[in-house]
């Protein structure tokens, strides 16, 4: 076992220390700010954990457009959408759904429906921790 804890574990411990030991000592604006900091830390940890899924979902979306690089494909996809070349396109809709669901699993997992939780690799009874 690697004796060094990972960055995500370190972030998690720091966030717990903030939530359990610091937040309760604060009032008013500092209390609110500490809650926001805790929320940002949890988000970063989830983003790291979802990196592979997130990249895969974005890749599947961009594969539906032509272009020389990702930025170019993103521009082309948006242009095609506006021009009506993807109206009611089920394949694109599925790709958009996966992309936005995985991004929401980072920012506010409590909003995900059961199927979206599975898609994002979260257990169905996953207790999201995005309050504050």
């Amino acid at each position: 076992m690697d004796p060094e804890i990972s960055g995500v574990e370190l972030l998690d411990i720091a966030q717990q220390a903030l939530s359990n030991d610091i937040v309760q000592l604060l009032e008013g604006d500092p209390h609110y700010m500490a809650l926001l900091i805790g929320r940002a830390m949890r988000m970063v940890a989830r983003e790291y954990a979802q990196q592979e899924r997130s990249q895969a979902a974005r890749g599947a979306l961009l594969a539906l457009a032509d272009g020389t690089d990702d930025d170019d494909r993103m521009r082309a996809l948006c242009r095609d959408l506006r021009d009506g070349r993807h109206d009611a396109d089920p394949q694109l809709h599925t790709a958009l759904w996966a992309d936005t669901a995985i991004r929401t699993s980072i920012t506010r997992p409590s909003l995900l429906a059961r199927t979206e939780r599975r898609l994002a690799g979260l257990s169905e009874d996953h207790q999201s921790d995005d309050a504050g």
């Binding site: 700010m33 926001l36 900091i37 929320r39 940002a40 988000m43 979306l61 930025d71 993103m74 521009r75 996809l77 948006c78 959408l81 506006r82 009506g84 993807h86 109206d87 009611a88 396109d89 089920p90 694109l92 809709h93 958009l96 759904w97 992309d99 936005t100 669901a101 991004r103 929401t104 980072i106 920012t107 506010r108 409590s110 909003l111 979206e116």
Partner: protein
């Protein structure tokens, strides 16, 4: 510096409301709306304590929206027509008093923060009555039809407010040079599925939980009129019922505070018009698009001229959940072209 400002404000206030003896006791950020715009003023006027809201003009270019003078005119019209708003008292067009033009409004009691309004049921009185009341207030607002000479600054009404709104949002996205496929998907859906507007009335355009104030007994004011204009009245109902403005209480479809049927009932009783529920649900999707575009604007503004702010940074991440809601609501089966409906 602060004393000089208070002295100038006292002098102006004495002239504006005709008090013989005016003393400003306190000038502080208001608990309602933007702290940059709103100040709460406690004054002693001829020995009587009175409290006001000072609503200043701020640069609005990146977000659109009305100046303080225009918003004051809107509040006057709404107040005269019986809509519960902060009572407009006077307008100061002398920038030397507080550094910019400002409106003086009667202070209002209560809280307006969306999350608090949804969670704290000690606010607002009976929630079923509140949902009906909000429907009634909205219907009162919608009794106002164009033209109204005092509101000549509003953009002329268009025959298709939905199409106009989509064009407006696309032009903002283009100006920001932002490429968001979920947003483009939603805008295209809104274009294809756009509804015909049977009535054009004064609309609030930002009517949702978070933009009205409640005390323990009920509604005290409808706030934030800076996006009001001529439009489809059902767009305001859509905004109020949109999931993105329920603050986590998705089971309560009327703004996270009540049942949709109660809200509709209040509206229909006051307006004596039957609500087209399909059209309201169309406008709920548009409300999500508006909120996404507003978040993009706020993010752009924040990056341009502010010190790093954690609240703003977190706000930009709200886009994921709004876009997910847009994608969920616009599945291929709902597109009008495919099914010819």
């Amino acid at each position: 510096m602060q004393n000089e400002m208070l002295s100038r404000l006292s002098e102006w206030l004495a002239g504006a409301i005709g008090g013989a003896s005016v003393k400003i006791v306190k000038l502080q950020p208001s608990q309602h709306g933007s702290t940059e715009r709103n100040r709460s003023v406690l004054a002693e006027i001829d020995g009587t304590s009175r409290s006001f809201i000072v609503r200043k003009s701020v640069p609005t270019a990146p977000f659109g929206g009305h100046t303080a003078a225009e918003e004051f005119a809107l509040l006057q019209v709404a107040h005269e027509r019986g809509v519960m708003v902060p009572r407009p008292i006077a307008f100061c067009d002398d920038p030397n008093v507080l550094g910019s033009h400002f409106a003086l409004l009667e202070n209002i009691a209560g809280a307006s923060s969306g999350p608090r309004v949804v969670r704290d049921v000690s606010l607002g009185g009976d929630r079923s009555t509140l949902a009906q009341r909000l429907g009634r207030e909205l219907a009162k607002m919608h009794h106002t039809r164009p033209p109204v000479p005092r509101l000549s600054f509003l953009d002329a009404p268009t025959s298709s407010p939905a199409v106009t709104e989509i064009e407006r949002m696309r032009s903002i996205v283009d100006r920001l040079t932002i490429h968001r496929p979920a947003l483009e998907w939603g805008l295209r859906w809104a274009e294809i599925n756009s509804v015909n507007s049977e009535r054009i009335t004064l609309v609030h355009s930002d009517f949702h939980t978070g933009n009205y104030a409640l005390d323990a007994r009920g509604l005290t004011a409808v706030l934030e009129w800076h996006f009001a204009g001529w439009g489809d009245p059902l767009s305001d109902l859509g905004s109020f019922c949109a999931e993105c403005w329920r603050f986590g209480r998705n089971d309560l479809e009327a703004g996270g505070i009540g049942e949709r049927s109660e809200f509709y009932d209040g509206y229909e009783r006051e307006s004596r018009a039957k609500i087209d529920d399909t059209a309201v649900r169309y406008w709920e999707v548009v409300a999500h698009l508006r909120r996404a575009v507003r978040a993009l604007q706020m993010d752009a503004q924040h990056r341009l001229d502010r010190e790093p702010s954690l609240a703003f940074a977190l706000n930009s991440r709200v886009l994921a959940e709004i876009e997910l809601a847009i994608v969920r609501a616009t599945a291929p089966v709902t597109w009008r072209t495919v099914h010819g409906s």
